[in-house]
């Protein structure tokens, strides 16, 4: 079966985020960018499905500026077979991203679409669910285990208080949580090979999707900072402070 994986180019996980002085957003100039960590888990899961003989082809799609092709190449180096780049320099919000992915799904007709549960920039946690709703597919969100059996997939989900397992008809959407797998690193030979793998480019216009944002960002501010308190000498003093000063125990 064909698996479609969506990946997003975001600020690198380890970069310290700085708000622009004019409060218009976060400063991304000359900042290291990378594949969203949850998307890495999505790519890894697709590659494992292929290694098990469940997936036959992995198509990776990314929406964003020209530079997002770097993240597609990374996915190709990790084991995806070909890439689709939906190129735009405009801001793409979740609903519009879901509509673009729906257009790609209609062309590619994958049996499964795997996405990260959220991106670490906008922290929305929406696109996979929106894509599932727009295409009428079932969804296994926050997945910690994915088992394909014939025309169905069992997805174990991380929910408040524990785990829940669902059975979904294929095609289905899966969004990844942290414990689903541990992504591998791309080897140098595979990085070289990835450069020769096919990568098609398209645009929101080609796909017939209006990507005008519905949400307007009024301002972006740095969070109120918390001040460091005091250091205590020992455990007895800690307990005394918590009981008699902070009065929280």
């Amino acid at each position: 079966m064909k698996v479609l994986v969506a990946v997003k180019r975001v600020i690198d996980y380890n970069v310290k985020v700085r708000v622009k002085p004019d409060n218009s957003g976060v400063d991304l100039a000359n900042v290291k960018m990378a594949m969203n960590p949850f998307c890495e888990i999505a790519v890894e899961e697709a590659v494992r499905l292929k290694e098990k003989g469940v997936a036959s082809e992995i198509v990776v799609v990314s929406i964003g500026p020209k530079a997002a092709q770097e993240q597609i190449r990374t996915a190709l180096a990790l084991g995806a077979d070909r890439g689709i780049h939906v190129q735009t320099d405009e801001e793409v919000q979740s609903l519009e991203a879901a509509k673009l992915l729906k257009a790609v799904v209609e062309k590619e007709e994958p049996k499964m679409v795997i996405l990260g549960k959220q991106s670490i920039d906008s922290d929305n946690n929406q696109t996979g669910q929106m894509l599932a709703a727009l295409t009428g597919m079932g969804q296994g969100t926050f997945a910690s285990e994915v088992v394909v059996e014939g025309e169905k997939v069992n997805v174990t989900r991380e929910i408040d208080g524990g785990l829940m397992t669902l059975s979904l008809d294929l095609p289905a959407v899966v969004t990844t949580d942290l414990r689903l797998n541990e992504p591998r690193y791309a080897s140098l030979p595979n990085i070289m090979k990835a450069k020769k793998k096919p990568l098609d480019a398209t645009t929101p216009d080609d796909l017939g999707v209006d990507i005008s944002p519905r949400l307007e960002t009024v301002k972006v501010e740095a969070p109120a900072s918390r001040k460091a308190g005091i250091m205590v000498e020992d455990v007895a003093q800690l307990v005394d402070k918590l009981k008699n000063e902070a009065k929280v125990i």
Partner: protein, 313 residues
């Protein structure tokens, strides 16, 4: 303005988070209706009817809503919610699962995880793991919103006397079914709503050592949490994770043990009233946000803490 609040529950009782969503709805203003969807959950509807500020409770009882399947809830809430100015749910794993489906079906954007209400169209929400705070304005006629429960003081669960109206809307998307559930059984309070949380990090070294924290949690009536590092290392399950990618908590007291304080962790507990930290590394970033810091080997300090607490509690 008319607001539909989705009630979170386990078919027998209303989750506290719903009262916080009601508080956020109250800040927006207007008539507030509550939707209770589930299987044999009329007790929840009665409980919701008593909550402060509720105009009317809509009760959709059917087996298809028994397990919070996102496909079915998405269709139900999109239909019932159509015509309301705002549709709101708690940003827990249920709301996060089905609410984007509601938004997509209504062709509107969703505003996720709000921590403040500016006006009926404008909301405050964290981005970049809480390292930046965005104020966003929705241009849609219906606002689909998930609410960070810890950011709003819950309304009272008593005193209201709303009517309960049964609604006969059965939506079965037919593409998903419930297989099984494995909920952690614990007598301790729920992590997201506990008054005291004690969390362990990579410094705990293994899962077995979390028992030390559990003993202290039982003394204090606290919930036990963990950093992502402890989850990644396999010490404890993911549902204990506090941080950007786990649970957001804001207890009266957050006690961090062997947690260095990565920004992703601070994003999940930075709003706690009092933070205390025990770490052997005096340079650990957690001390920059802690009200009380103790530089010590946790394997000595935690047993000592247990003894000291026994003396004073």
């Amino acid at each position: 303005m008319s607001i539909l609040v989705f009630a979170e529950h386990d078919n027998s009782s209303l989750k506290q988070a719903t009262l916080s969503v009601l508080a956020a709805a109250k800040e927006i203003g207007g008539d507030i209706d509550v939707l209770v969807a589930g299987d044999n959950c009329s007790a929840v509807a009665e409980e919701a009817a008593k909550a402060e500020g509720v105009n009317k409770v809509l009760l959709a009882e059917n087996a298809v809503y028994g397990h919070n399947l996102g496909e079915n809830l998405g269709q139900l809430v999109a239909e019932v919610g159509n015509g309301y100015s705002h549709i709101m749910a708690a940003a827990g794993t249920t709301g996060k699962d089905f609410m984007p489906r509601v938004a997509a079906l209504l062709d509107v954007a969703q505003v996720s995880d709000i921590m403040g209400v500016v006006d009926a169209d404008t909301f405050v929400r964290p981005i970049y793991a809480g390292n930046a705070i965005a104020t966003v304005k929705s241009k849609d006629s219906t606002k689909v919103i998930t609410v960070r429960p810890t950011a709003f003081d819950p309304v009272s669960g008593e005193g209201g006397s709303a009517s309960v109206e049964n609604i006969d809307v059965v939506k079965d998307a037919g593409v998903s079914s419930f297989v099984s559930e494995e909920l952690a059984k614990s007598d301790r309070p729920d992590l997201a709503s506990a008054g005291i949380v004690i969390s362990g990090g990579r410094g705990m070294q293994n899962g077995e050592n979390f028992k030390m924290l559990e003993q202290i949690a039982d003394l204090l009536g606290a919930a036990v949490g963990a950093s992502r590092a402890a989850v990644d290392a396999g010490f404890v399950p993911n549902d204990m994770q506090v941080g950007q990618t786990g649970k957001i908590v804001a207890p009266q007291l957050y006690l961090a043990v062997g947690i260095s304080g990565a920004i992703q962790h601070l994003a999940g507990m930075g709003d706690s009233k009092v933070i205390a930290a025990i770490n052997k590394d005096e340079e650990a970033p957690i001390f920059q946000v802690a009200d009380y810091g103790l530089v010590a080997d946790l394997f000595e300090a935690v047993p000592e803490l247990e003894e000291e607490l026994k003396k004073v509690l």
